[in-house]
Symmetry: D2
Subunit: 346 residues, 4 copies
């Protein structure tokens, strides 16, 4: 039985980790870390766990934790994991960091976009970007996983096959993303109040959102060229779900069947990426609560562009689910253990 510690267990991603691990046959949570709620019963923070979790919240002590568990999930604000991790800890436990600290290989890029100093750049190279469908073999051998951001997971998986196969002009990529509000976290801010979000939609972080360089880096690896793109997230009045609609110019005339074959080449054997049937547009509701990413595309012969779409649950495949998938790979478990969740509809 793998012993699990969670630092940041009372955020939305932390709560989702707990939900998923409750039904994981090979893992057991030993430490519910939460600075804000120390000594409080975990179920009092999330009453859905009443009579399911009886533990109390603990301090966020990574040193102490490293002696008691086999894997640590850090579902914490940017900078915290980098400030806590060290060689000693990494010798004792595996770490899956749900923050952005180890996602970007170029420390200058990280520091510029995130506006903070990186406290342990020595581990950046070692860290494996935990996009399981792309980096599976490296993940299996990793000590430290940079769990991908929500938008980058959905964006990269939706575009990856065409970038990899060179079908699209990478200089023309535009990603228009829409997210449910849980992505904004559980902090008490006026902007995230019910009455401000409900019956409303807006763009935010236009031309400046931090997930931009992360997506660019991953698509650069895929395409073999330096990628600069536009990424515009929007806040949508729903709890869960990310939908991305991406645009790119096709390098040559292609048929539906040719593009479909390219997607199938990469995803036909992937349990968690579903390439939908022709003309079926992904909907976030069809993946809610599950680890699936639904992708599809539409060729527009008029403009010679292709529209790529992807939908997923931001808290599952976009955070906690992918983190568990990474843990499964790192520990040699069945990749889908704890993740056989059927999407909930309606």
């Amino acid at each position: 039985m793998i012993r699990v510690g969670i630092i940041g267990a009372t955020g939305y991603a932390g709560g989702e980790l707990v939900r998923l691990l409750m039904n994981h046959k090979e893992a057991e949570i030993k430490w519910y870390g939460s600075r804000s709620y120390i000594d409080k019963k975990y179920y009092e923070v999330y009453q859905n766990f009443f009579q399911i979790v009886d533990d109390v919240c603990m301090d966020d002590n990574m040193e102490a934790l490293a002696n008691e568990v086999d894997v640590i999930f850090t579902a914490t604000p940017q900078g915290l994991c980098a400030s806590l991790v060290n060689e000693d800890i990494l010798n004792k436990v595996k770490i899956v960091d749900l923050s952005a600290d180890f996602r970007i290989k170029d420390v200058a890029t990280y520091e510029k976009w995130y506006g903070i100093e990186h406290k342990s750049p020595q581990f950046i190279e070692e860290a494996v970007y935990g996009l399981c469908e792309i980096n599976r073999e490296d993940i299996k051998k990793a000590r430290l996983i940079a769990n991908p951001g929500c938008y980058p997971t959905c964006s990269t998986l939706s575009i990856y096959p065409l970038a990899k196969e060179g079908l699209i002009d990478m200089n023309t990529v535009i990603i228009d993303a829409k997210s449910g509000t849980s992505g904004a976290g559980r902090g008490a801010k006026v902007d995230n109040l019910y009455c401000e979000v409900n019956e409303n939609i807006k763009a935010y972080g236009v031309a400046s959102h931090r997930h931009t360089p992360e997506i660019e880096e991953q698509l650069s690896y895929a395409s073999g060229e330096q990628v600069l793109l536009n990424f515009t997230p929007h806040l949508v009045p729903m709890n869960r779900g990310i939908l991305i609609t991406a645009y790119a110019t096709l390098k040559k005339d292609v048929t539906y069947e040719e593009v479909k074959a390219v997607y199938d080449k990469y995803y036909a054997n992937e349990k968690f990426v579903r390439v939908l049937d022709k003309d079926v547009c992904p909907q976030t509701k069809w993946v809610e609560g599950s680890n699936y990413v639904d992708v599809n595309f539409k060729i527009d012969p008029r403009t010679k562009r292709i529209i790529m779409m992807g939908a997923m649950d931001n808290l599952v495949k976009g955070a906690a689910g992918q983190a568990v998938q990474n843990m499964n790979l790192m520990f040699g478990l069945k990749e889908s253990e704890g993740l056989e969740l059927v999407p909930m509809f309606p």
Copy 2:
């Protein structure tokens, strides 16, 4: 492996049955019945099942079905199950009827409130009212289960201990209920359009809702007296969830601890009924996607009334979940098999 047939598989309750049974270790769906979608792939009706269910929808033929499965769920409009069932079928398969056909023992009451003739009154007496926490032993021996209505499940479980122990004046019971919109079904009606339900709340079926006599009958059994009560349902802009707020006059002065002890007497060992901590009000979100009913109460010494509250997911404990729980009991399986669902929050 128990072979399952579903008649009415493409309604919301039918879809939820499929979701739950996908993760049931001892049951396998053999027949997805749906008159409206015959020969269509089931996943084309509910794309959340893409790459999970590959079967096509079949006709609603109970005679044929009885030879191929061990249990039939009928998630169909009132009257259909009663019009199809017969002794021959009941000798071959067990039936869990999610409609109201066999819930009310007095056929005249059924016919009056539902406005239709009952086509097989000879099975009413035999049918067991499948409220698992109350009728567990009878359910284990039953051939035909009347799966309780959504409102009656939540209402009865919230009030039952006090009715049974004689703490409340049964002539004073008022139930004010609030339901998400999935309870209205998937029929294309203007009243259920997004724009009509969203940002809106209304009462409906005031003093005339069909679940009234069902609740009255169950509380009559519990209290040993004839019960007439007020039941007012409301439509709430959310997909899932029922909250009931019930009022009754206390027969004598009681303390919090005394009432708590009464609830615990009936529910302390019940996995799916959670009596919340003092002063914690049930919220539908805390049970979403799960088979739990959360109950609690508040004594008002000023008015000598007690306010009883219950929250549950109308599609799970209020329909498909309780149906599976009944199946588990009927077949001697672990009662919670397939139902170990952690509520999803947010």
Copy 3:
């Protein structure tokens, strides 16, 4: 032109006052008071007023304000208005207090339910409870108006005719209320975050909500007897709207026509109270954005109870709209000036 000052202009009720007064022909806002946003452009707090309001927010100085305006609206937390008002101010301006400070005539009751000391009890008797349809003549002569609470407005108007005419047993009154989330204000609290409220419903303040004694007092005046009742509010996932469902035992057999005649006696000539047609249940969406209260009732001959229903917009008739209606009465203007708002649907 009546000069208006608003203290607390940046809360939701304050914002609604501004919206209504923009279309008021006889009033002009001279002071946008807001402690939190002093010197900030008002439209930067509420961008809906961009290019409509160009003023900056001012301090909450009632003394200074009294010299510059004809009427002050206080849309502030409980206790503030009582701590600021004095005889000198009341000699200069009229005040419409949207808080609870002057609603309850018995200061001990106020202090017990609100848990704060009343700082100017000497004005309580003078203050007029601004429920326009009931106290119109007194309002016309008042210096200080206690603008009714949102729940009390809807509850009292729905029940008043039957209480006044003695048709119901006042000891049996139970009010089950449902409110949109704007009633909780714009404070940054976790409980009011989008993800906590959306897809959720809960009761709160059970048997302890502060609007209880206010409703009881008003219904006591109407019925001529001391009233104790149960009032249970619920939080509903919508921005605006209050629906109340009230229950009471009828003192004698009455017909629909008799009760309808009683409602018409009080409301047939009231512009803002609409008694709906038979069997039409009020819906909050039908009054959204307007000053209407829609009421109706249903007799249940089985239980000899009557179910009374009322729907209104909590920010309009439940707060800012009624405040403007009071101002109109106090200044001898057309009562509906600035309030001829057609409800917005959908």
Copy 4:
């Protein structure tokens, strides 16, 4: 007093026309046309109009109507207006057609995208495209107005200044649009049920939506070149509101101030188009219920693209509001008469 007839008064756009015209000082509705509800009280279809509108619904007879009113609004499905209009009618009344029948000058394009034969192509050339801010002078002289589509209104106004001034490469324009559900109309379809739309987002009509050629035509006029672009609408779980996010490559380096000056050149004197302050992103909630379009932009120096954003209420500026604005222009009234609606927040 201008006498108004509405054909299609019981759709959502029709209902909004009625709402707006109730507060119009110079117009009076004489005919509520609705094939589906003939002889039914209008308020029974939309109870928000209870005690406000007492008329009954009439047949959709344009010939008869032309003798009784001064202007006819057709808020009907595509093809109906074209099949009813003739020279005789146009000699008697002015027509504002809210359908697409007269928006597209090339009849072949219309017939291809809409899949229906145009029944009166002889009036296409005469018809004026009623985008008031662009075609004001022509509108004043028109008999027949093609009221713009919701998406085209928001898209064109957001992009127009840059297209007109030649700042952007028109071959690179991509419009990603998001709409509330009222845009889908009041037809009873499963896809528009509350449970299907709520907690969900999807693209639809990808590379095939009928508003594409309409936007292209308008931007072609603005830029003086043939425009082909990508337009992707999305369905968002809210009642009202359209947000468009548009992308284009800048032809040369420009500063914020230069672009702002271009927007101001066209909109500084336009009441209903608000160019927001720097870095403020439009939100649909800030224009809800009003005739405003809020626009803004962001330059991305990394990709040399500009992101243009626009938000409006699809039922007001996107349909009924603009129709009234057109009527005001045609009859020489104050352009904003009946449209001085302050956006409602929250």
